[in-house]
């Protein structure tokens, strides 16, 4: 009886998540009357704005990941190694983007970096792109920092660092050859979450008026019937592909079984 109840709850839960997805995919395939087809996908993929916004967001996501790793790995490493007492404060700061809405952040940026400010980043495309990049880095900070900090927790950072130092390694070598490879799975997990966030982000890109995938999704949703569902399915597949890649990387990591 108890087993049957467990199964019922599980199936109910699965139905709660899966039925809307089935509905979304089914609707995205129903553009032609009376038959299932990929017409909506064809229309979306043929739209130059799709390719433009998609590529823009992919590039921004990769840059966000690169700069995020460059910022967070050394910070988390240094905090763990030399300033463990500051960890609670750093954690608090990294969690702030979860409680401060993106709209507050972007209005702050516009107020601080508008064309009449001392650093007029919004006055040029490069500057606005950089501002958007910083915004994405801020939004992904809670996930990136937590993932990397958890990765660092699984290795003996202090002793590995000292071992490398005793062998003549400087800080850059230690970070690049010892620390980063040993937290690579954690870095990738943060990177994939960052990728998913950037691909779907709307507020920052829309208010900074940049051609990103999120605003394009919204635009299509407001003006078309079937195409937004095809786009959502594509976005969903990308997210799951990221998760699958993460799983693969974790599984095939040659040294992940090392005793810590």
């Amino acid at each position: 009886m108890r087993k049957a109840a467990s199964w019922a709850i599980l199936l109910l839960g699965m139905a709660y998540f899966i039925l809307p997805l089935i509905g979304m995919v089914e609707f995205s395939l129903s553009m032609k009357r009376g038959e299932y087809s990929f017409e909506a996908y064809r229309v979306v993929l043929a739209d130059p704005r799709f390719r433009e916004t998609f590529m823009y967001s992919v590039v921004m996501a990769l840059l966000t990941i690169a700069f995020g790793v460059f910022l967070v790995v050394p910070t988390a490493f240094w905090v763990r190694l030399k300033m463990p007492w500051i960890r609670p404060y750093i954690e608090f700061v990294t969690l702030l983007p979860l409680v401060i809405p993106a709209i507050v952040i972007v209005f702050g940026y516009i107020r601080l970096y508008n064309t009449s400010s001392w650093l007029p980043l919004t006055g040029s495309l490069t500057g606005t792109n950089a501002l958007l990049l910083f915004g994405y880095m801020t939004l992904s900070l809670p996930y990136m920092y937590r993932a990397i900090d958890t990765g660092l927790r699984t290795i003996d950072v202090a002793t590995l660092t000292e071992a490398a130092q005793s062998l003549g390694a400087g800080w850059v070598t230690i970070l690049a050859k010892v620390i980063l490879p040993n937290v690579l799975v954690a870095v990738l997990s943060g990177a994939f979450v960052t990728f998913a966030i950037v691909m779907g982000e709307f507020t920052l890109a829309a208010l900074l008026n940049r051609p990103a995938f999120g605003p394009y999704l919204q635009l299509m949703g407001a003006n078309r019937a079937y195409e937004p569902f095809a786009l959502s399915t594509i976005a969903f597949v990308i997210t799951w592909a990221c998760m699958g890649l993460l799983n693969l990387v974790t599984r095939f990591s040659k040294f992940d079984k090392a005793p810590r």
């Binding site: 290795i155 003996d156 002793t159 590995l160 000292e162 071992a163 490398a164 130092q165 005793s166 062998l167 003549g168 390694a169 400087g170 070598t173 050859k177 010892v178 490879p181 040993n182 690579l184 040659k254 040294f255 079984k257 090392a258 005793p259 810590r260």
Partner: protein
């Protein structure tokens, strides 16, 4: 001048002084052990030599050059850690070659040196394995090879055997010592295990509460402990109070009998130290005989450790587990033989 000179070394963490006026000179090729209980400051001294801790004051000179201001990666000192500290992402060969690669050695040179090192530690075929595929003993051998590969001036071993099981520990300590002798590398070994220190070292520094209590050869440390702490920490030592009858010649009353040390002792009462193996069951030609009652019998395999009450003072002694000979039983009265020459006068 000695190869390594440590003078007036001090280290404080906040208000706590963990190393106090530590002085040590080490000759080239010497194997020195820092021996002491947990928290005595031995690892802190080692870490200051390695450059991981900055001394509060004092000097560390290697080949006459003060290294206190040098970073750890500028000192060319190899170090082996208790937890192996092998890089999990690198194979055994890559771990061993890490120091050489950092120094910019060519790939052929690295390959040759790694081969030599793996041969030296007896693991020539395991270069392609990852650390997690090795046993604890193998990992520590690799850590030793990794530390030695860049040809360091000195080798520091921070309790490298503590995480290993008893049998591996004994075989590895012999290997470490023979490799150290073969290479002639100056080595400082930190341990809390007196057996390791006694069996491996040219000299031992016994540390207590941040102070070097005694520096000497293993034989000196064991047979002629300079302080009560050294006497109690190294080996098992019986302490017996004796009444001084004539301080000039060391005539004493000990457990009701008189004995003469033939050396001056302080007036009043002295504390004598006596190793269990220096006590004989029966007088057996020893110059002093005392009587006691057996209070404890511990079977330790080839040896039986007994304790006897000498009228209020307890003395431990060992006897061989001889087949066909029954050891004394609890409550049995026995005669114990002592040599006055074996009695150590312990000063505080």
């Amino acid at each position: 001048m000695s190869f390594l000179n440590i003078s007036h070394l001090e280290k404080s963490f906040g208000p706590t002084r963990v190393v106090k006026d530590f002085n040590l000179s080490v000759e080239k090729g010497e194997f020195i052990s820092l021996l002491g209980p947990s928290g005595c400051g031995k690892t802190t001294v080692l870490r200051m030599v390695a450059g991981f801790e900055e001394p509060s004051s004092g000097a560390i000179l290697i080949s006459g050059k003060d290294v206190v201001k040098l970073r750890p990666n500028q000192r060319n000192i190899g170090m082996v850690f208790q937890s192996y500290a092998l890089f999990p992402n690198l194979t055994v060969a890559q771990n061993v070659g890490f120091g050489l690669k950092v120094k910019g050695a060519g790939s052929a040179e690295i390959r040759t040196r790694v081969g030599e090192m793996l041969e030296l530690i007896g693991l020539p075929d395991l270069g392609g394995r990852y650390p997690f595929q090795l046993s604890g003993g193998q990992q520590q051998r690799v850590a030793l090879a990794r530390a030695l590969a860049p040809k360091p001036h000195m080798l520091l071993l921070d309790e490298p055997l503590s995480a290993l099981d008893a049998k591996v520990r004994v075989s590895l300590r012999n290997e470490i010592r023979s490799i150290q002798k073969e290479l002639g590398i100056t080595t400082i070994f930190v341990t809390h295990d007196q057996e390791e220190a006694l069996s491996m070292s040219d000299r031992i520094v016994v540390m207590h509460a941040g102070i070097a209590e005694q520096v000497g050869t293993p034989s000196d440390i064991y047979s002629r402990p300079a302080t009560r702490f050294v006497a109690g920490f190294v080996g098992t030592l019986n302490t017996i109070e004796a009444e001084v009858l004539d301080s000039a010649i060391g005539r004493l009353r000990l457990a009701g009998v008189e004995t003469i040390l033939n050396r001056p002792v302080p007036d009043g009462t002295v504390t004598l130290g006596l190793r269990p193996e220096a006590v004989s069951l029966g007088q057996n030609g020893h110059d002093t005989a005392v009587t006691g009652t057996i209070t404890e019998v511990d079977f330790l395999g080839s040896v039986i450790r007994l304790r006897a009450d000498l009228g209020g003072q307890t003395i431990a002694f060992d006897t061989f587990n001889t087949p066909g000979t029954a050891p004394p039983t609890l409550g049995e009265k026995v005669v114990l033989g002592l040599r006055s020459a074996d009695l150590l006068v312990i000063e505080d």
